[in-house]
């Protein structure tokens, strides 16, 4: 019995290690790639002289590619997109959770359809529109188009948070003499804070990782890291080490954010399931 149990344990560990390698190998490869000097890039053995040169190049704005600017662009555009979505989406989510009005369900479905339609279906008309409107390669343009990504997410998730709150809490506040607006800000909103934290993080990650919109709708000024990291592959010789370093640098903000608000995240994601 004990032998069998131990054997099973060993097998389970082996399987886990196998999965671990499978899951982490691409990341390990990227790390190795980013630390290799340019002349050893294509060697298949693991012994090489590690160097931070790639990072220095990427962050140091050499090779004519302003990666730091792309990085700042990504921050501005993602934070801006989430902020705008919260500003518009929280009241929208609250309204759609509390009141059924003419066409409210259709409106919500339309919003959701932005998420399941591939971005490529609208990208060409958008490109033409942006060119004509002067939104091409601007922060405003990027923040605006990213609403397609962040707004449906925020509205739909926050809607279910608000729906889970019993309306009597706000009604009691109304009876006390608070206005509708105060009832929203003082009663409803504080109770869904964990949800706001969780959904903001998700929206930020989706905005940060978006590739198609910055690829087509920016060229330089407002270009983001997802597209920017690939520019190291262009030119006469693809510089895989620089791409790897850029990609790894661009993972940092979402990762840091996720770690810092992890506490809220766990609470936020389980909040909706437990009705008070």
């Amino acid at each position: 019995m004990t032998v069998r149990k131990r054997l099973l344990g060993v097998l389970a560990d082996a399987a886990l290690i196998l999965y671990f390698v499978f899951a982490l190998f691409p990341i390990a490869w990227m790390v190795i790639l980013s630390l290799k000097p340019a002349n050893q890039l294509f060697s298949t053995y693991f012994s090489f002289t590690p160097t931070l040169g790639s990072y220095r190049t990427v962050l140091g704005d050499s090779e004519g590619i302003p990666f730091v600017r792309f990085f700042v662009n990504s921050l501005v555009v993602s934070v801006g997109a989430v902020a705008l979505s919260l500003l518009v989406g929280l009241p929208a989510a609250y309204a759609s959770a509390r009141w059924r009005f003419k066409g409210s369900e259709n409106l919500m479905f339309t919003l959701l359809s932005f998420r399941f339609a591939p971005e490529l279906t609208v990208i060409i008309p958008l490109f033409v529109l942006y060119q004509k409107l002067g939104l091409f390669d601007t922060y405003v343009g990027m923040i605006w188009v990213l609403q397609l990504v962040t707004l449906p997410l925020i509205v739909w998730i926050m809607r279910s948070y608000f729906a889970d709150l019993t309306p009597e809490l706000e009604q009691a506040a109304l009876l006390d003499g608070y206005t509708r607006k105060q009832a929203f800000f003082k009663v409803a909103l504080p109770l869904v804070k964990p949800g706001v934290a969780a959904v903001s993080l998700l929206a930020f990650i989706f905005a940060w990782n978006n590739f198609v919109f910055p690829l087509i709708l920016t060229s330089n000024e407002a270009q983001t890291v997802t597209v920017g990291a690939l520019s190291f592959l262009g030119g006469d010789r693809p510089k895989y080490n620089l791409t790897a370093a850029a990609a790894l640098v661009s993972v940092v903000p979402p990762l840091l954010l996720a770690l810092t608000i992890q506490r809220y995240l766990v609470r936020g994601l389980s909040f909706g399931a437990v009705k008070s």
């Binding site: 009604q171 009691a172 109304l174 006390d176």
Partner: protein, 359 residues
Amino acid sequence: MTELELRDLRKTYRSRGRPPVTAVRGLDLTLRSGELLGLLGPSGCGKSTTLRMIAGLETVTDGDILVAGKSVTALPAQARNIGVAFENYALYPPLTVAENLAFGLRARRGGDRREVAGKVADMAARVDLTPLLDSHPATLSSGQKQRVCLARALIREPDVLLLDEPLSHLDAAQRDTTRRELKRIQRDLGHTTILVTHDQEEALSLADRIAVMRDGVIQQLGTPYEIYDSPANLFVADFVGEPAINLLPAVADEDAHARLSGSVRVALPVPVPPGREIVVGIRPEDLSLTGAEGLPARVVAHEPLLEAGIATLALAGVERPLVVLTGPEVRLSHDEAVRVTADARLTHVFDAETGDSLR
């Protein structure tokens, strides 16, 4: 203090593509100052809609609501000064009991801290919450939450107090104590109060008068005794009383009797024209098995409940079973032959077609 009057109050819900639903059809009610009126009815009878219209949480389709003689129908909830103790308590989870009470006060007078604190302490003392002021709602029992909820509604000194099923979430022991508390507090402070409930026990024990409601219409308005002793129609008779009244279809017969079947006749309190289709109502507690006379019946079942028993009998040729409340000493066995007597003075007669009382 304050009188509350409802004049021909109506509520119709209209939604596109569906026929309009009328929840309240022409309610007329006047509450004397300080009176506690029970609005009693099954779910969907319009009692909650009525409460929400009075509070201002629901628009009024037609009619008028007057508080102290002044119409509040057009005012929003914020401007009405009506206190509501919600069924689910509606306490704010992140705040302590004291903060919950203060929250309601802060809305109107931006909040002089000392004044607010004084009022909170005052109200807490009145409803025995002083030791719990620093607790959070989640840690309280249902009975305590109910008291906080009540205190929250009362602390603003509302003109009218509305209680929505105040005892429905309490267990049996807490129900009794909370009911007594509720009655004492309402008497002390003298608020004009409407209690909405589907539980007859709650209404009978707390209310000065009861309005029994069905399908948006008040069926009968009266003191608990009036409702119980002389129900206006079949619905009220059936809805009030536990165990429920025996309602037996019958045909009126000569000399103020009713014929339940070929051989079974019961005496009626009033003469009814012979041949008329009627329903005879006899409360289980008004039937007795002790007499030697009376109608022959067979015992179908007997549930001894210690302080009383409930016997189910079958009368010869009568389809409906007859339920009798027996004394604690009564022992009955299945299929036993008994004689059951009814007091004609306590018997109710209803028209079979309209359901109205013929007494």
